[in-house]
Amino acid sequence: MPAAVVTGWRTVRWWFRGVLGADAYERYLAHHDRSGHDHPPMGEREFWRARIDHQERNPQGRCC
């Protein structure tokens, strides 16, 4: 039973992090890995700055 609880908690956590966008850097690394670039990926701090700069130029609507 505890194993199921742990899995459940992990799933909820994974889902919530995804919805919030907390996993963006990990997904960027995975994307970088997959796409086989020869330059090294951005560092974590650098990535989040780039992400914010991107949001600055591409605002996303929030609905009523």
Binding site: R13, D23, R27, L29, H31, S35, R62
Partner: protein, 753 residues
């Protein structure tokens, strides 16, 4: 708009290519048609439960009806519509093809183009489309009784709202995630496209203005509310600095801290309201309106990381959290509803909350939750760039909107579970209630509503219960909803002692959602404006040009800020005059989105299924055009803006210094001015929308005559990944997913799990 494509050329995984990237259509079709006894039993059970729910709320006329029946009727209808109608649309009209790569796959850039797990995307999309809208509209519409609103929310979403979201999402996905404005230009030509863009901008201004007005109405003269909502600004700033400098990327951690601080701010608000500081935080509605205008300018020009991004994290966290909390509480508490199914005001047009006859005004008062044009801006642009597979558009687009509709039903349940006398005392404008508990009670009791007899100390008691000085004429829907929620939630957690906490918790999350929409909406509108002006003055296209950004921001904030101030100072009461315009504007945007879909579907040549688009389009066009015509031409001053305008002008000309709610010459002038602006806006919206619908009809007819025309879809790119389409994979999908997992690992889950 183009992005550097990182994934398109590089993501070759030779071993994966042997695996199919889609389950064959025939296999899915076979699965769909195979009715096992278990499946039959489940769907029969859903149908029976839903039918029972509908019978209980629509036909049985007891003293009270239990709220659980609303949940059964709604959820069963959603499931049936999702299982049968949305798959029908998928099979006959849209025909998604999982062998084609989505924009997220072929243009993947690690930022906004990123294949996202469908379950995560569902939450993400829901957090983007849902907000205060579905929480407020049903509350105001409750003056007509619960049944008309319930039917419109549920039937409307099935046939209109969810269809719009799904179609726009799908078509935008097939066009690299193009925005509604760009699709309008492609499909409708220059005039139709330009009208669509101008209409969208004008509509966004009125939407933001009325949302801001809802916040002002909820916070006016409420030190508790003002303090706790004001605290969201330093909390967001703290989160912003934390993420930028202390621990970059720890989004989950900082959001948890933020939510804890938010709860603390709500509790601290209670201390403030009982301390000597209460005076400081008691602000008039006009002051608050100016605060929000200034906040709007500052938020739109500050760097995103400081305020907007962290506030968005908080808002997302709260959206998901409160919806779950609300659903659990309604199911656990199952409040008894004493409001009649169809109230006295359903057959009249002088309702004190929102004036006008049931048709069309109920259908514009409840916009979000049944059909919301604003969603078309999210379903084009943001979400299509995250879709992993084409077939998932149904789950995200249609399914996401069903969830918003469910939120609207729960808001309705909360609003109708409070005492009806108190409901009207809260929602009638000060012009009618007089603002004190005695006059409000007298006003409500003379309405002649069956079973309604409210005593002044009952109204005062309700205010004390939730820690407010007064609840009289707290229009706008948010305070009523908060009162209903506090009653339900305090029965679920904490008892009467926590009623005031839950009330301000509800006010807080509504204000948070609205302020997020105001921030983001102002910014999006500014970019749209710069893009539109850029057609003539190219320099404006450069969104990093500071002068252009300032001009754009000031114009947009000036637009909604002006309407907000007008609404706050309106002698007739801002919500009842402006909310219909909000609903009309939102539905007109839906009409524009559906008109664009009509042109696209006709171009694809699938004429025999054009009715799927025509049903919602014709319905929303009839509703909004009728409502606009009422607002423009109705001779009843309470309903028609111009009738009111001329009545007051004539009165001033005749030398009168007071009339109705306007008590002095300045207020008389204000009514004349406000009704002029409102009436003019009604005309502008109507004309622009009719141009768009006409342009779409012409484009559609041309396509039909030609038997379909080449579309504007992107060239198909073969997909190289696989994921199931719905929440629960079918056996064949599960099988294929397993093979992919074995060979490549979970594609969209990213790293740490």
């Amino acid at each position: 708009m183009t992005t550097t494509s990182g994934g398109a050329g590089g993501a070759t995984a030779p071993s994966d290519q042997e695996l199919p990237t889609a389950v064959e259509d025939e296999v899915l079709e076979q699965e769909r048609r195979r009715w096992t006894p278990a499946k039959i039993a489940i769907w029969a059970g859903i149908a029976v439960l839903g039918g029972l729910g509908w019978v209980m709320i629509a036909l049985i006329r007891g003293e009270t009806v239990n709220a659980i029946w609303f949940v059964f009727a709604a959820v069963a209808t959603y499931l049936i519509a999702y299982r049968f109608y949305s798959t029908y649309i998928e099979r006959k009209l849209l025909k998604p093809d999982d062998r084609r790569a989505t924009p997220a796959e072929h243009s993947e850039n690690g930022q906004d183009y990123l294949p996202t797990d469908r379950r995560v995307l569902y939450g993400h999309h829901f957090a983007a489309i849902a907000g205060a809208g579905p929480l407020v509209g049903p509350v105001l519409a409750a003056q007509m009784g619960y049944l008309p609103g319930t039917i419109w929310i549920i039937v409307g979403v099935v046939l209109a709202g969810a269809v719009q979201d799904y179609l726009v999402l799908f078509f935008s996905m097939r066009r690299g995630g193009r925005s509604l404005g760009q699709m309008a230009r492609d499909e409708l030509g220059t005039v139709g496209g330009a009208a669509a863009v101008i209409a969208t901008l004008a509509i966004m201004i009125i939407l933001i203005a009325v949302l801001a007005l809802v916040v002002v109405q909820a916070l006016g003269e409420s030190p508790w509310g003002v303090f706790s909502v004001a605290m969201t600004i330093p909390i967001a700033l703290f989160m912003g600095f934390y993420l930028r400098y202390l621990r970059p990327g720890k989004v989950g951690e900082v959001s948890a801290i933020g939510v804890a601080l938010l709860l603390l701010a709500i509790i601290a608000g209670g201390w403030i309201s009982e301390s000597g500081l209460a005076e400081t935080f008691t602000l008039s509605r006009t002051t608050l309106a100016w605060c929000i205008v200034i906040y709007g300018v500052v938020a739109a020009v500050l760097p995103v990381w400081m305020l907007l991004a962290p506030r968005d994290y908080l808002s997302t966290f709260m959206k998901i959290g409160t919806v779950v909390l609300l659903a659990v509480a309604v199911v656990v508490v199952r409040p008894e509803v004493a409001t009649p199914a169809i109230s006295e005001f359903a057959g009249r047009s002088d309702g004190p909350v929102v004036p006008g006859p049931l048709f069309p005004f109920l259908f514009v008062t409840i916009a979000c939750g049944a059909l919301s044009g604003f969603h078309a801006l999210i379903s084009s642009g943001t979400t299509p760039k995250l879709l992993e597979k084409e077939r998932q558009a149904r789950f995200i687009g249609y399914g996401g909107m069903l969830m918003e509709s469910f939120v609207a039903i729960m808001a309705l349940v909360a609003a109708i579970s409070i005492d009806r006398g108190i409901y009207f005392a809260m929602n009638a404008p000060t012009a009618l209630t007089g603002g004190t508990v005695e006059t409000a009670a007298a006003f409500v009791n003379q309405l002649g509503l069956t079973g309604v007899n409210v005593a002044p100390d009952q109204i005062a008691g309700a205010a004390t219960m939730v820690g407010e000085q007064s609840i009289v004429s707290r229009t706008g829907g948010a305070p009523t909803l908060a009162l209903g929620l506090s009653q339900i939630l305090s029965q679920f957690l904490g008892g009467a002692a926590l009623a005031s906490f839950w009330y301000h918790f509800a006010i807080m999350f509504e204000a948070l959602f609205i302020l997020t929409a105001v921030d983001a909406g102002t910014r999006v509108a500014r970019f749209m404006l710069q893009d539109a002006v850029g057609t003539f003055v190219p320099r404006f296209r450069d969104t990093s040009w500071r002068t252009g950004a300032w001009i754009g921001t000031v114009v947009m904030v000036g637009g909604w800020g002006g309407i907000l101030i007008m609404g706050v100072t309106d002698p007739l009461g801002g919500i009842n005059t402006l909310f219909p315009l909000f609903g009309i504007a939102n539905q007109l945007l839906a009409a524009i989105a559906l008109a664009v879909c009509l042109a696209i579907v006709a171009r694809r040549g699938t004429v025999q299924y054009l009715w799927i688009v025509l049903v919602p389009l014709v319905a929303v066009a009839v509703i909004t055009v009728t409502a606009s015509l009422y607002k423009i031409f109705s001779p009843v001053p309470g309903v028609g803006y111009w009738a009111q305008h001329f009545a007051y002008r004539d009165a001033i000309a005749a030398g009168r210094t007071s009339m109705g709610a306007a008590r002095n010459p300045a207020q008389m002038e204000a009514v004349v001015r406000n009704t002029f602006i409102q009436g003019s806006l009604s005309i502008v919206f109507l004309v622009l929308t009719l141009i768009v619908i006409a342009a779409a009809t012409v484009a559609a007819l041309r396509s039909i005559r030609a038997g379909g025309l080449p579309g504007h879809e992107d060239e198909p790119v073969p997909s190289r990944r696989y994921a199931p389409s719905g929440l629960i994979p079918t056996p064949a999908e599960k099988e294929l997913e397993k093979r992919w997992l074995a060979s490549a690992g979970a594609p969209s889950r990213g790293g740490g799990h």
